[in-house]
Amino acid sequence: MPEFLQFLLSGITVGAVYALVALGFTIIYNASGVVNFAQGEFVMLGGMITVFTYAAGLPLPLAALIAILATAAIGVALNTLAIAPARGAPVVSLIIITIGASILIRGATQLVFDKQLHRFPAFSGDTPIAIGGATILPQSLWVISGAFAIFLLLWLFFTRTLIGRAVLATANNRVAAQLVGINTNFVMTLSFAMSAAIGALAGVLVTPITLTSYNIGLAFALKGFAAAMIGGMGNPKGALVGGLLLGILEAMTAGYISSQYKDATAFIVILVVLFAMPQGLFGSKSTDRV
């Protein structure tokens, strides 16, 4: 039983990391239908900028805030310089642009910062918390609460605020949205800023656990993307559930079957889910919500 609990806690920890990344995909996807493959780089930037501002002597909360704001600014720049000029292009072209942007960000990061691995101290120390014979690190609790908090905020944003609905309307039909008076350019800028900020916040939360370096973004993006696909792209609930499901699944496979098959099991489940429900677990609702 303690084993099961340990696998579960591990799964939830890793799952919350995936969920945080998956949540970042949500906003840009909802505003433009684009899957932003530079999302992993936002997570990486959040961690890396915090590492270097913290090493420069700033207190951790301030370093984290600077990292989040700087990453949000980079997100806005990505939209203004690369996505907005290609506005008429099909979604596939825009997705390819984001892949290019991710390669650019990765390259720039290794020049501006360095190629080494880094971490900064956990927020509440490293003393494990014992739960029924299993243990969890305090930082995992930060990651889990972070994932839930962002989920809640996003859910409120999309269902309860006018601007959130404007984002959904822009994705559904840009011309119609403009006709009813929505400033779609502003919506796009806002969605990139928010996605980048959420990615950076995820990076700040997970770096004490996962460590960070210039090339860590791609792995984050792939797992986060997988989580978002399971849950249903664009739906915050789907991102959260998909992330946790993927994490727990991996941990249980590693624990009870074999660590060799851990990643394979995750991908088999993704295939099964997508065969049965091509929109993901929660996806179908969000497509006809507006």
């Binding site: 340990q6 080494q116 691995l117 880094h118 996962t210 460590l211």
Partner: protein, 382 residues
């Protein structure tokens, strides 16, 4: 107007550069290294080391009165590019010897080029396949994973450990070392009771470690791995309080590892490392002491970055090559090749190199020092 000014600028620049380049041919040494790309953390210090040492040697009058002309290409870790550069080094640049091949992939791709051209090549990559079987013109400086395994198993045997658990990275390094270790583990009478793996980007290894923990009879755990994996394993290991000796591999033998894992979690971790890592801890009478201290000081002064084992591989390769050219008294590739094979008792950063027709690596187990992490620093265990 603008155009004219630019043209004038460019031509004057070309003129200056033209004057700056040496006019006569020197000893041409070629190199293809992964300065950028995924293996840049290996290739970057290697390239910096080569440039620094060549400058140093030339400032001191060169080799046998001739200056070294280093022709260095960046293959970005891509074997195809490395192969193109290798061909260019042989056919266009007409080099007399080559240092390079940062990764096993690039090294294996370019070996045939140099074997065909009969130009001596010193690889900087880890795999044993590079020198086993021995090829006439191929040499290498880094110790092999198998030697690291042997060093670890020797230490286990000394401590009466006969049953272990293994948790290996599934990346190239982890998988290769895992295989090498299992090939020789029988010679030490050690059994593997639990054999777990993790992916290089995994964030949590507690499920695997929980399974090792619940396996009765495990006396120690070995983690062949590279990058962030071993640091996370070490942190999870402390989190689960396994209370058994933890052995890490030479893949993480750096100060950065202690920082990443945290001094508290890393306390007591054992691993095989090179003399370079513990330069200041070496006893005065250690033959490697003066070499590693000098290289460390020079590198850190020249680059402002901490010295790394990988730069040390390039250091040793160039020293072996320069020593061979001096002894050969010639820059004929065949004479250099014979002289490299005759390298005897050359003290480098990775160990003391003595090559032979059967051994194109020339290191023994004394190249590794068994280290233990204590209070956030290294301690030599012998």
């Amino acid at each position: 107007m603008n155009f004219n000014r630019n043209t004038a600028l460019a031509s004057s620049l070309a003129l200056v550069l033209g004057f700056a380049t040496p006019v006569f041919a020197d000893i041409k040494i070629g190199s293809t290294i992964s300065e950028t790309g995924p293996a840049s953390f290996l290739g970057d210090p290697e390239a910096k080391t080569l440039k620094m040492l060549v400058e140093e040697i030339n400032a001191a009058g060169g080799v046998n009165g001739e200056k070294i002309n280093l022709i260095l290409y960046d293959d970005g870790g891509d074997p195809n590019k490395a192969r193109t550069f290798a061909t260019r080094l042989v056919e266009d640049d007409k080099v007399v010897a080559v240092i390079g091949g940062t990764t096993t992939g690039t090294s294996m791709a370019i070996i045939p080029v140099f074997e065909d051209a009969e130009i001596p090549f010193i690889s900087l990559a880890g795999a044993i396949e590079i020198i086993d079987p021995v090829r006439p013109h191929t040499f290498k400086t880094p110790h092999t994973d198998r030697m690291a395994c042997a060093k670890i198993f020797e230490d286990m045997k000394k401590n009466g450990i006969t049953k272990i658990g293994m948790i290996s990275g599934s990346d190239g390094f982890g998988a290769s070392m895992h295989k090498q270790c299992l090939q020789i583990i029988g010679e030490y009478g050690i059994q593997v009771l639990a054999d777990e793996t993790y992916s290089p980007a995994d964030a949590d290894m507690t499920p695997q470690l929980t399974n090792i923990k619940s396996k009765a009879g495990v006396q120690a755990v070995l983690n062949p791995g590279f990058g962030q994996g071993p640091a996370i394993v070490t942190r999870n290991y402390a989190q689960l309080a396994l209370g058994l000796p933890l052995y890490q591999s030479h893949g993480v033998a750096s100060d950065g590892f202690i920082e990443l894992a945290g001094a508290k979690a890393a306390e007591g971790v054992r691993l095989p490392g090179t003399a370079l890592l513990v330069a200041s801890l070496l006893p005065e009478n250690d033959p490697q002491r003066s070499v590693v201290v000098a290289y460390k000081a020079a590198y850190e002064k020249a680059t402002g970055k901490p010295v790394s084992t990988f730069g040390g591989y390039a250091h040793d390769a160039l020293r072996i090559l320069v020593d061979a050219i001096k002894r050969a008294g010639s820059t004929e590739p065949s004479a250099i090749r014979d002289a490299i094979e005759g390298t005897h008792g050359l003290v480098g950063t990775t160990g003391t190199v003595t090559m032979s027709a059967k051994d194109h690596l020339g290191l023994d187990l004394s190249a590794f020092r068994m280290l233990r992490i204590e209070n956030g620093g290294w301690k030599i265990v012998e």
